[in-house]
């Protein structure tokens, strides 16, 4: 089985290994027909109407605005309803550098998102700290505090790269098991329980 999304063919994606592996895992564990169908229905709905929480701190946010404008028009793929309240959004799009002072605000926004929720790290700064990695007050990547689903590299990423990343998220959602899932989001504490070394790095 391959994961199909409307906007792009399976073979056009460059990294299909991870999604094939997820599908394999999903198939191996098996599921009830009813539950499976219900899962598919929910995933179909979820993946086609992904509402982002705009969390633009710097340059990437401007490119995200280009996405909303007429030329790139993200409405074509169901991403258009950019929300400013976390309670109405499906995923948080971290666009730009996260600095020490921002971390509590970011964590609170993430906590306010309703489940199921996803995190996309946009741009070099959100992925790894980017050019500011060595600074005294920059978080070297949001994955130090949040579990990230999709990384979109670039400084800033091109609008096409944004789409590619967002479609990757669509594919990931297509294979999620909504009922008692395996690849669902992890809470921060669970994440730290599995990766105690990350907590150590953060002091």
């Amino acid at each position: 089985m391959e994961v199909k999304i409307k906007s792009m063919k399976h073979e056009d994606f460059k990294d299909n290994e991870y999604i094939d592996k997820l599908v394999e895992e999903l198939n191996a564990s098996g599921t009830n027909v009813m539950v499976g169908k219900l899962d598919q229905l929910i995933n179909w709905g979820l993946s086609n109407s992904l509402w982002p929480l705009t969390f633009g701190t710097s340059c990437c946010a401007i490119e995200f605005m280009s996405l909303g404008a007429a030329r790139y028009d993200m409405a074509r793929f169901g991403f258009e309803v950019a929300r400013n309240s976390p309670r109405q959004a499906d995923y948080i799009m971290v666009q730009g550098t996260i600095v020490h002072r921002m971390v509590p605000a970011l964590l609170r926004l993430y906590d306010q998102l309703a489940e199921p929720k996803y995190v996309i790290a946009c741009g070099g700064c959100a992925v790894s700290g980017g050019p500011f990695k060595n600074s005294y007050c920059v978080l070297p990547g949001v994955d130090k505090v949040l579990p990230v689903d999709v990384y979109i590299p670039g400084c800033p990423p091109r609008p096409e790269a944004f789409f590619y990343g967002l479609m990757q998220l669509q594919r990931k959602i297509k294979v999620q098991k909504f009922f008692g899932g395996v690849n669902r989001k992890e809470r921060i504490e669970e994440f730290f329980a599995k990766h105690p070394e990350e907590r150590g790095q953060l002091g």
Partner: protein
């Protein structure tokens, strides 16, 4: 110059002078405030504009360099150096009572160097958390992450402030205070708010719907660029400028390159000079179009946003073809530009020049004349000319207060002496005037492009530069007109291949400083439009 020297030594005999990029006055701390008062109030000297405040650590002493300008006389710069040797408890008299712009600028110096300013009403940190340990830009700063781990909890006591007040006997007393009183009803905006144009946080005390006071809490995107620069070589620090005010990427980088070129005594080929100027103006168009779109969107006019972005994409296409990127172009380099213009460049620019007048009419039709827009912009956010100078609000926002402050006219650089353009001024002093300055500046930028597009000279695009760039010991200050105002770069070198100190004097830093006085007496909903019309970019403030 010599009469200024004579005049200053007459006022304050204890000063010494240093020649250099501009005249530098060394003044002992105890005489600083009286000299500053004289510099500001003396009829002949009349230094009414405080351009830059640069905190410094010279290892044996800490201090501040103030760059002053007289807008009435001429726009020549005067630097004043104040240094104290006490590293444990450095104290300098504040000049925030003379130049209001120092209110925020001195807080920055306190944040970075721990220099306490006597009689400053609000000595809080500006960029860093209030529980931050140490002063990061000091040369002996301990960068151990154990001292300052990533804190997951909110800051406490954010209402607390402190001031150091000198009584008549010269004794300095520490007086704790509060930002807001017990009775104030405080509304919080941000840091994640769609209309603050980034991650800025405002706390507004309101009386009903009327704003009484706005407290600016910055630093949510403070990335420590100035400290990072100290560890890198000159070509390596160039890319930071593109990422501060990303809507003035070319101008900012142009400024830094010019500052380094000035220090090296490097002559830039004429072709590069013209290309740089054209790129600056294209950047200005793209920035003002974004400002137009965002102002409209903040008022709920989404259609205007699409119009603005339509033409902005054309400019971005020009950038992409020549520089290889839509944003963060990294185009200027020391001695010229990194690559020659694309073969389509001239054609594309001409096409832009052709369509812009027509499109400008569309913008005015769709938004400017709209009755809601008029009501929301006209008479809102008054900033008088005196305040604009006092708070050093330059750029379109300053010119909206009828203050002629265009750096392209005052300190002509690059190819600006070659072209004719009008410095756009509006008399309204309100949000509408600032908005109109931007719209008219697009037309002026198109005019500049029109004059230059057929005059790009042939020749090399880059001067010969040494492989390892070392600046001679000294200090340099360079200004350009960025999209939002006068952008300044200060470099101090000790002869090594990396700078001793780099300071970026960003225009948006001063813009956000007038939010308080602009908003007072206006409705809470107008805070958004005032911010939109001032048009600040947050990473430029925080750096």
């Amino acid at each position: 110059m010599s009469d200024i020297k004579a005049k200053i030594s007459q006022i304050c005999p204890s000063v010494t002078f240093e020649e250099g990029d501009c005249l530098l006055v060394n003044v002992p701390e105890q005489d600083w405030h009286s000299l500053a008062t004289a510099l500001k109030n003396d009829r002949e000297l009349n230094y009414d504009l405080l351009t830059a405040v640069v905190g410094m650590d010279w290892k044996e002493s800490l201090g501040v360099i103030y760059y002053l300008t007289s807008t009435a006389r001429n726009w020549d710069l005067l630097a004043v150096k104040v240094a104290v040797t006490d590293r444990k408890n450095p104290m300098i008299h504040s000049v925030s009572d003379l130049w209001k712009v120092a209110l925020f600028q001195e807080r920055e110096a306190f944040d970075f160097y721990g220099i306490k300013f006597i009689n400053h009403p609000d000595m809080r940190r500006f960029f860093l958390r209030n529980d931050w340990v140490g002063y990061p830009l000091r040369k002996d700063y301990d960068a151990d992450p154990k001292l300052n781990p990533v804190r997951m909890e909110d800051e406490k006591h954010e209402d607390d402030t402190v001031s150091f007040v000198e009584d008549e006997n010269g004794k300095i007393k520490k007086i704790p205070g509060k930002v807001f009183t017990e009775d104030d009803y405080v509304v919080n905006f941000g840091p994640q708010h769609p209309s603050t144009h980034g991650v800025m946080r405002f706390r507004a005390a309101v009386d009903g719907e009327i704003i009484k006071k706005v407290d600016v809490v910055s630093g949510y995107i403070h990335r420590g660029i100035e400290k990072l620069c100290e560890g890198l070589t000159y070509p390596q620090i160039l890319h930071f400028t593109d990422r501060m005010d990303y809507m003035s990427a070319h101008q900012n980088r142009h400024c830094l390159c010019m500052c380094i070129e000035k220090a090296l005594g490097l002559e830039v080929p004429q072709r590069a000079v013209v290309i740089r100027t054209m790129m600056d103006e294209l950047m200005r168009i793209s920035s003002h179009l974004l400002a137009f779109g965002c102002t409209a969107m903040d008022l709920g006019a989404t259609t205007a946003f699409f119009y603005g972005f339509r033409e902005r994409e054309m400019v971005l296409d020009i950038f992409e073809k020549t520089c290889g990127a839509r944003m963060s172009m990294n185009y200027n380099v020391i001695g010229g530009v990194i690559a020659d213009i694309h073969t389509d460049f001239v054609k594309d620019v001409k096409e832009l020049i052709r369509i812009m007048p027509e499109r400008m009419k569309e913008y005015h039709k769709v938004f400017t004349g709209n009755v809601i827009a008029m009501n929301r912009l006209k008479g809102v956010g008054i900033l008088t000319k005196e305040n604009a100078i006092n708070y050093a609000v330059t750029g379109p926002s300053g010119r909206g207060s009828d203050w002629s402050c265009d750096c392209r006219k005052k300190h002509p650089y690059a190819a600006y002496p070659m072209v004719q353009f009008e410095e756009v001024l509006e008399k309204g002093c309100d949000s509408y005037a600032r908005y109109m300055v931007r719209m008219r500046e697009i037309e002026e930028s198109v005019r500049i492009l029109e004059q230059l597009v057929d005059r790009i000279p042939e020749g090399p695009i880059r001067a010969q530069v040494p492989k390892i760039i070392k600046l001679p010991a000294g200090r340099w200050y360079q200004q350009v007109e960025a999209s939002r105002g006068t952008f300044g770069v200060y470099i101090e070198s000790d002869g090594q291949k990396n700078p001793y100190r780099v300071h970026f004097q960003s225009p948006c830093f001063n813009l956000v400083g007038v939010m308080d006085i602009c908003c007072q007496g206006n409705m809470i909903a107008d805070l958004i439009t005032i911010g939109a019309a001032l048009d600040f970019v947050i990473p430029d403030i925080d750096r």
